[in-house]
Symmetry: C2
Subunit: 328 residues, 2 copies
């Protein structure tokens, strides 16, 4: 079976392990991208006429209708990166092309980020570190909080939320989830219970995992943001667009709760954004899903899964049209 | 039974819950410290002649031989704080006084700190936060690391190490422990295996939990510190004296690994300590064991346990002479 790997060597070093390279060569007649950059759409259209499997990652050009119309033998796309939406149009499914996305592997890194950010926020680690660097010792008089036994509100039972919830197991926390698609049984399977958005936003710890969709645009409105309790920790590792950023900024400026923010409405965050100087935030540049180990296993995981799927075996990473509609 | 609570109201607000106050009043004829400060040794000596149970905490005066010689009816001391060593001399045991220490409850806060510091270090959270505050986005080009699947070296199987190890359960880590008192069976019970100090110091993640004892003074020598692998994360939440600080500073200045340091040889850390300006450290002012919830449950936990012990029931917090020798 003819496979085309779209990513150049510089990207493969990050996302394709030696084992993955061997796996691809073993199962496919592979054409590697020997240029030092990603293909343009035009170049790609020239290359696809006999390709049956495409392996993509960050930087790969979108599989436009133009490209797909020339890829008559294409059976599957394996995407070794996050969101598959910018890569493949919804129409790909009606062409009978199967799509596999390694996004669930990224969820583990996001889950670890969420626990890191939560514990660091509860214990004021970045605030204390900055204070010690400024020559202080305990002048701030801050006393941290334990996570054990807390109540955590989760917005959207996405793969990142599930990865986070798994890591919370030893802390004996009480987990509430708002997700319009989650059944009571599925919630119980996560050792959680379903709750309204209002209930979740009233928890002392809140973690946002909602995908970027028209329905989630500014879903966390001024009214809902006002429900965040004093002393709470609010974590956003999903998308800035989910939050009414202006109303959120006003809440943050009151200093009444702490927020760990990895995502922003506009990225990169404006250099003069007032959010950069707030004392009650932990800021990171949209890195929740990024880790050395996570990235290096992406292509291997999605290729393995795609091979299983093409062999009519169970696949964990296949995306269908219905999922495409509601996913990040 | 007559009980004397040594801590004034300002301290009790932190360490004595309403439930604990009720518990004490229910089981004992309690004398509360109605002054607005801790007693002096001299004042204490005046108060103890008919006291059978003493409840102490941070700030309580040492139970010197002079005090103990006047406390002829004393049966038990319940210490709602960390180390009991500065409070009671070893000779207390030969007087037949039983000692209960809430230190194991503090271990949970330390365990949470260790996981917080570890995950925050692996993901460079304080470094990235400072970078965003300085107007940057991804200029540092840092990619974090996952904890899942890592190998962790633990120095001393203390109560804080055990609390930390419990929280690591979902991460499927490989735990090596150096502890001269730990049996192979006890290590297996912690899902860990025993290892030499050299092996532990060669792990990609190292966490120090050794108590301050003559035998642990600068135990982490220049030679052992040189074993720390490049890219490692080294966490010290026990005592600064365990590490040869000068040799450690030289290792840190090479920038080849990251350290989360909550304790230092001299505390408070000197305002002009060069450690304060290193980029590869996360600094906190000896707060690993301090948390709102942890402190507020200290007296309740030790009083409950002491009541059980005095009733010849199982006690989790009683300290005997042999333990006193090797504990922090």
């Amino acid at each position: 079976m003819k496979a085309l790997v779209l990513s150049p060597a510089s990207r493969l070093r990050e996302v394709c392990s030696d084992k993955c390279r061997a796996l691809l060569n073993e199962h496919f007649d592979v054409t590697w991208n020997e240029t030092s950059r990603d293909y343009t759409k035009e170049e790609l259209a020239e290359l696809v006429s006999d390709v049956e499997v495409m392996i993509t990652s960050w930087g790969s050009p979108s599989l436009t209708d133009d490209v797909l119309s020339k890829a008559n033998k294409l059976r599957a796309v394996g995407h070794a990166a996050g969101s598959v939406k910018n890569l493949v149009p919804k129409q790909i499914f009606s062409r009978g092309v199967r799509v596999f996305s390694a996004a669930p592997r990224i969820a583990l890194s996001v889950g670890e980020y969420c626990l890191a950010a939560l514990l660091a926020s509860l214990r004021y680690l970045p605030v204390l570190d900055a204070s010690l660097r400024a020559g202080q010792w305990r002048e701030l008089g801050l006393k941290g909080r334990e996570l054990t036994g807390s109540t955590i509100g989760i917005i959207s039972a996405s793969s990142t939320a599930r990865a986070f919830i798994k890591l919370l197991a030893p802390f004996q926390v009480n987990v509430l989830i708002y997700d319009p698609y989650l059944t009571e049984e599925a919630a119980a399977g996560l050792n959680a219970r379903r709750a309204s958005l209002e209930e979740v936003m009233s928890c002392p710890i809140i973690s946002v995992h909602a995908p970027k969709l028209p329905a989630t645009e500014r879903m966390l409105s001024r009214e809902l943001l006002a429900l965040i309790p004093d002393g709470a920790v609010f974590i956003n590792s999903s998308r800035g667009s989910v939050v009414d950023e202006q109303a959120f900024m006003e809440q943050l400026q009151s200093g009444r709760f702490f927020a760990a923010l990895d995502v922003f409405e506009k990225e990169p965050l404006a250099a003069d954004s007032p959010i950069r100087s707030l004392p009650n935030v932990l800021l990171t540049p949209h890195i929740a899903g990024a880790s050395v180990q996570g990235h290096l296993s992406l292509m291997e995981e999605v290729v393995k899964d795609m091979i299983q799927g093409l062999n009519q075996e169970n696949s964990a990473y296949e995306v269908n049209e219905r999922m495409w509609e509601v996913m990040a």
